[in-house]
Symmetry: C2
Subunit: 316 residues, 2 copies
């Protein structure tokens, strides 16, 4: 893992333009003809980011969804995508394209171009997708949180992690488990929410690796201290039904990742506007913490300070 | 191969927007704030597009060069790139980044963002790069050649193919062979030439798979007939020194690929302007054929019709 961090440091030295945001943010931002173009790239590798027997439709869906989530978190509306396809077995590829078509339609992210390559026999396949979005207003970074801000999250946290557990036989059966498994297989970020919230936030990113680790990253990038209240973290009915809502379950939710919710900060005076904006789009948002002067992430539960778990989420 | 064509046909059905150019062109074109953004994506896979023992600096250079070539052929100036890196052995990755830095500087294509992934143990690695360019004028497609146009090519043809033969022990040794090998390892398309020529051409693309096969693709996309004169095809001194300049050598050059030269068509009245534009940039351009009504590609040598070789270049 140290190797990867060293490598990324070497790349950062290379990415010297302001548009690259020092490769510290989730997306690059380019000004073109007075408009702001947001660009993001994600790669998914067989046996690393998905399993060989995962349904190909779902792999394709997720490839589009994770990039659409990044575009939304930067306050941008999707413009389109380019993707690189590693050819495989014919019917598998057909199913993959069906999933890609469904996701491109759902997220309003038309396919603009790409490349197809043939892998050597037996090699794990990988798929890269570059998504483009256009921001009409400000493009929030991870690094803008200010002392006094509230910390917010959209949607519910932990569904995907519990869904994966259900799929891999480590969790429960039944209707709630199926609902959670679908949340894992086909993440559906509320992509219109990002651009709608962007004018009112000081920092914004999507939660992909875990609420705690992503919160820690936002705190670090902003140079402030963030406190999250575990008891304020929104859980779905299905999550509560299976895992309950005690602290242990909440910590599991906050470190599971694959949520593709928005984590953002905003001054308290924007609270009513933020609630109205989300309600107008049929989305849930919840205030889950505070920003203060200082550094690092800390956690409280029902008003009492609790230690951070050793593992805050997925590190890479 | 049929599978790949069928797959691309399925993708084309998905790419319904005009910006995608039906995935038939080398790049997508997006209008943003009154400017034209050109987007292209290329993936290079170990043991398919490069060999495991190729120098990592050269692999990285080529990844940038082939995309810079596509951007130039669409009349655009480079804006930047995003790329996906498959992590490997530490010193290999460091050398790769050094090559990437050199190429990004050479082609004025700053790194804006990307992704790094860890592959499963022993898996061949793949690298995807998305390049962005901005066109201030027209964005030539493959499909605009008109009867009466001249067919032009920039640079010299066949160097890279002969360089690969030298590297793999199938060719000659010596200074000329080394020069050709460097042309294979570090293709250096004259990227300022594309945007400079764009206002005067009817169709333009880069020669990547072989002059003959790319010429046939341009003829097909334009719905016209193209005739190339083998004896007019420009060969480098090094190429002539090793392979001579008889028809067989010329046919080898015209089917070798990896040239990253510009193939373009223009009305005869622009001949002087095209020569001046190229000379002003220190580039060589040569008229090598004619467009007429009809279909398909045909070949003449010293005024005499010659049959096309069975294999016109690299098909994928």
């Amino acid at each position: 893992m140290t190797t990867e961090l060293a490598f990324i440091a070497a790349l950062r030295a290379l990415a010297g333009t302001p548009e690259a945001r020092g490769l510290m943010d989730d997306a690059a931002v380019l000004e073109i003809g007075g408009e702001k173009l947001v660009l993001t790239l994600d790669t998914m590798v067989e046996s690393v980011h998905f399993l060989p027997d995962d349904p190909p439709e779902d792999i394709a869906w997720k490839l589009v969804a994770v990039n659409a989530s990044d575009v939304s978190a930067k306050g941008a509306e999707p413009l389109g995508c380019l993707y690189s396809h590693a050819l495989g077995e014919e019917s598998w590829d057909e199913s993959f394209v069906a999933g890609l078509a469904a996701a491109c339609a759902h997220f309003r992210m038309p396919l603009l171009g790409g490349d197809t390559v043939r892998m050597p026999e037996g090699a794990p396949r990988s798929f890269s997708l570059t998504a483009l979005g256009r921001a009409h207003g400000p493009v929030p970074s991870r690094g803008g949180a200010q002392p006094g801000d509230r910390v917010w999250v959209s949607g519910t946290i932990g569904d995907s992690g519990l869904g994966l557990a259900a799929l891999t036989g480590r969790g429960a059966d039944g209707e709630a488990a199926e609902w959670l498994a679908a949340r894992y297989r086909r993440p559906s970020p509320d992509t219109p929410l990002g651009p709608a919230l962007a004018p009112w936030v000081t920092a914004m990113m999507d939660v992909s690796d875990g609420l705690l680790i992503d919160g820690q990253r936002m705190a670090e990038a902003s140079g402030i201290a963030m406190t999250m209240s575990a008891d304020s973290v929104p859980l779905s009915d299905a999550f509560r039904e299976i895992a309950g809502d005690e602290l242990a379950a909440r910590l599991a939710a906050m470190t599971a990742g694959d949520d593709y919710c928005l984590l953002f900060t905003a001054p308290p005076e924007h609270t009513a506007r933020i609630r109205e904006t989300a309600a107008g789009l049929g989305c849930e948002v919840n205030a889950i913490g505070r920003i203060s002067a200082g550094t690092g992430l800390s956690l409280v539960h029902k008003g009492v300070s609790v230690p951070l778990p050793d593992d805050l989420g997925y590190r890479h």
